[in-house]
């Protein structure tokens, strides 16, 4: 007999509202469904009411963990639209903050993954080291999260050389501790028994579902915006894209922990090379009509922003697509056929970020009622009551 087990909207597994519906028989998962939309804040619409320089403040608040990824992707889109030059020093500073953010995000995930399989010691230890990264970010930018560094055409403020040098001991410590964490995970037989061979996403499925970031890299696809379409100073840095072929949860853990080490290496190189003088902002005056695309490799995968400009000081359209949105469908391939015990860690293994993704409500047909049409018809009704002009679609629905 199949039963439906809800994980969410409020569940100790996750710290944000999310809703998975697992159809199970005994312990085996037969089907999985994801419902999103509990966290809708209308960010894209709000963005159309702000000037180009105000939007970074807004998109920084899409997500607390990717609070550099969204403004960076937005700035890349604006710079693409206006063909803006970014000074060399600003590029270094942007990349440095981006990589520090990746370190703290991956450590955060490692801790949570430990918590989900009942290993709270890993949880506490990973977050203890993550705290050092946050302190470092506070030293460099003034904020633990929401660093407020980005603006189209450059960065908001310079980081003095003295502060950059102070980052070195922390990075050394992190390198040692990340290696310890990596070895602790790989050497632990119980951990291996729990993570190896479950939730396998093979390369074909990863491509078919359009998986992004560490989720796809753990399935053997070297898919990384930093190397495919380089922005910032990644072309000048010595680093490599980490991939694993196994595609299971253990591979995803490995990829993330090794990426943490790569990021630490990159941060050290950036601190060595960052120019001492020079401008940090090209101070763009206006954005011409047209559109622009910004792709940024966020810790969870490609973060995509689209900007349409009509020559005024505000974007007329701003579209955001978070990486988790593309990683959700892979559950069809990874969860089905596994047990409930494994499903929780498999769901968590794509590092889902709900506040990034759940900016949109998906309305779907249920019992022959088209909710979308119903909502539009209701809007038409209200507009008519208020004596407002109807759009062509609403006129059709009204009849």
């Amino acid at each position: 007999m199949a039963t439906t087990i809800p994980i969410g909207p409020y569940h100790p597994l996750q710290e944000e509202p999310e809703h998975y519906l697992l159809t199970v028989e005994g312990e085996e998962v037969l089907d999985v469904d994801v419902q999103i939309g509990y966290n809708h804040r209308g960010i894209e619409k709000l963005s159309e009411k702000k000037t180009y320089n105000q939007v970074p403040f807004l998109v920084e608040r899409v997500c607390g963990i990717c609070s550099h990824s969204h403004p960076y992707a937005y700035c890349l889109a604006v710079e693409d639209c206006g063909d803006l030059e970014v000074p060399e020093k600003a590029k270094y500073l942007r990349t440095l903050i981006g990589e520090l953010e990746r370190i703290h995000s991956h450590l955060l995930w490692a801790g949570l993954a430990g918590h989900f399989i009942g290993y709270d010691t890993v949880f506490m230890w990973a977050w203890k080291y993550r705290e050092e990264v946050l302190d470092l970010l506070e030293l460099l930018t003034g904020n633990r999260n929401a660093y407020a560094m980005m603006k189209p055409g450059g960065v908001q403020r310079d980081i003095p050389r003295k502060h950059l040098e102070e980052a070195r001991p922390t990075l050394d410590m992190l390198k040692e501790k990340s290696e310890m964490l990596y070895n602790a995970v790989l050497d632990d037989p119980v951990m291996k028994a729990r993570l190896e061979g479950i939730g396998i996403l093979d390369e074909e499925d990863a491509r078919a579902f359009g998986a992004l970031g560490p989720t796809s890299r753990a399935s053997g696809i070297p898919n990384d915006i930093r190397s495919d379409f380089p922005y910032g100073v990644y072309e000048d840095l010595d680093w490599k894209v980490i991939t694993r072929d196994a595609g299971d949860v253990l591979a995803r853990v490995e990829v993330r922990l090794l990426e943490t080490l790569e990021s630490i290496k990159m941060c050290e190189q950036i601190i060595n090379r960052i120019p001492d003088g020079g401008s940090i902002d090209s101070e763009p005056k206006e954005i011409p009509p047209g559109d622009g695309i910004g792709s940024y490799e966020a810790p969870r995968g490609e973060c995509f922003h689209y900007i349409k400009s009509d020559g005024t000081n505000r974007p007329v359209r701003h579209k955001i697509r978070a990486p988790t949105f593309m990683n959700f469908p892979t559950y069809r391939s990874t969860c089905i056929g596994e047990t409930i015990a494994d499903a929780s860690i498999i769901l968590a293994s794509v590092d889902p970020c709900y506040c990034c993704t759940e900016r949109a409500i998906s309305l779907k047909e249920k019992d022959d009622v088209n909710l979308l049409e119903l909502s539009q018809a209701r809007t038409a009704e209200i507009k008519k009551e208020l004596g407002l002009e109807l759009s062509p679609l609403e006129e059709v629905l009204d009849e």
Partner: protein, 310 residues
């Protein structure tokens, strides 16, 4: 006589003592876990505050549950453990024992786990019946090695089915005894519901499993059952394998043994992830049970050819 019985049941070694030590043990569990995890940990009486809080709250009986079962089942655990505690403690410090008390204790120790199963089944929630299923599977997994290990101790001590005989000698100070002790320690870990065997509650998977629908005093009774288990189960281990305790300095020595066993259990809890229920079953049947069997064979052979250290 009646006064003596009332004292035995409600003060020492009954309710007051068992619960009091259980609260201290629970604090120890949380404090040691906190130290391993670089946290500060709770104040000494936090477990007592938690229980007191639960008894000040409302009971909610879910629709669709079997009401009488739901209400009565939480009492099973504390009652079983209370009796076990009285028998164990008296066998240790008064050496009053009856033939077969070890078997009675083994039966009584299953009661809390059965209470969890019955409570989960009567809640009428899919997650709690899932948890009850997992608990049943876990009982099936750890009972076999536990009984093998205790049988080894019985053989080792010459076949007397009295706890008082165990507590006068160190069973674990021989090969068979040591193997049996390791197997029994792992079973106790599972019986306490400690990670890696907290499969039936697994809050990040099934949100507390069988206890999901319980609230207020009824949940408090389950928590009390867990507190008592923290005293009774390690005490059972040291009585059977590590020489138990006696009066005077022997009580202090016994307390040290108890704390050491508890700390070992806590450290195992904090250095492992949770196993899946099929993995736990495999672990006990293919790992712990053969270990118990080897111990039993060694003990029998040792008895036959008269080698005490085997």
């Amino acid at each position: 006589m009646v006064g003596r019985l009332v004292f035995d049941f409600f003060v020492f070694p009954g309710l007051f003592f068992t619960l009091g030590v259980g609260i201290l043990a629970s604090w120890l569990v949380r404090k040691v876990s906190a130290l391993v995890q670089w946290r500060v940990g709770p104040p000494l009486l936090q477990p007592a505050y938690d229980i007191a809080k639960l008894f000040g709250k409302e009971n909610i009986i879910p629709k669709g549950s079997s009401e009488w079962g739901f209400l009565i089942v939480p009492l099973l655990g504390p009652i079983g453990l209370l009796l076990a505690s009285i028998i164990l403690v008296k066998a240790n410090y008064l050496a009053t024992a009856f033939i077969g008390d070890v078997i009675v204790v083994l039966y009584l120790l299953v009661l809390p786990a059965l209470a969890v199963v019955l409570g989960g089944m009567s809640s009428g929630n899919p997650l709690s019946s899932l948890g009850a299923n997992r608990e049943l599977r876990l009982i099936a997994a750890y009972e076999l090695p536990l009984i093998l290990a205790v049988t080894t101790a019985i053989v080792k001590t010459g076949g007397g089915l009295r706890l008082a005989i165990f507590s006068s000698q160190w069973v674990a100070a021989s090969f068979s005894g040591a193997f049996a002790f390791i197997a029994a320690l792992l079973c106790i870990q599972a019986e306490l519901g400690f990670i890696p065997f907290d499969i039936s509650e697994a809050e990040t998977e099934i949100m507390g499993g069988p206890l999901i629908e319980y609230s207020g005093p009824l949940l408090g009774l389950f928590k009390i059952s867990h507190l008592m288990a923290l005293l009774v189960l390690p005490l059972f281990l040291i009585t059977v394998f590590l020489g138990g305790f006696s009066t005077g300095w022997g009580a202090l020595w016994g307390a040290i043994k108890y704390v050491l066993v508890l700390v070992v259990l806590i450290l195992i809890k904090n250095t492992n992830p949770r196993l899946r229920s099929d993995q736990a079953l495999k672990f006990f049947w293919y790992g712990a049970a053969p270990l118990g069997l080897i111990a039993l064979v060694l003990a029998v052979v040792g008895n036959l050819i008269g080698i005490a250290w085997l």
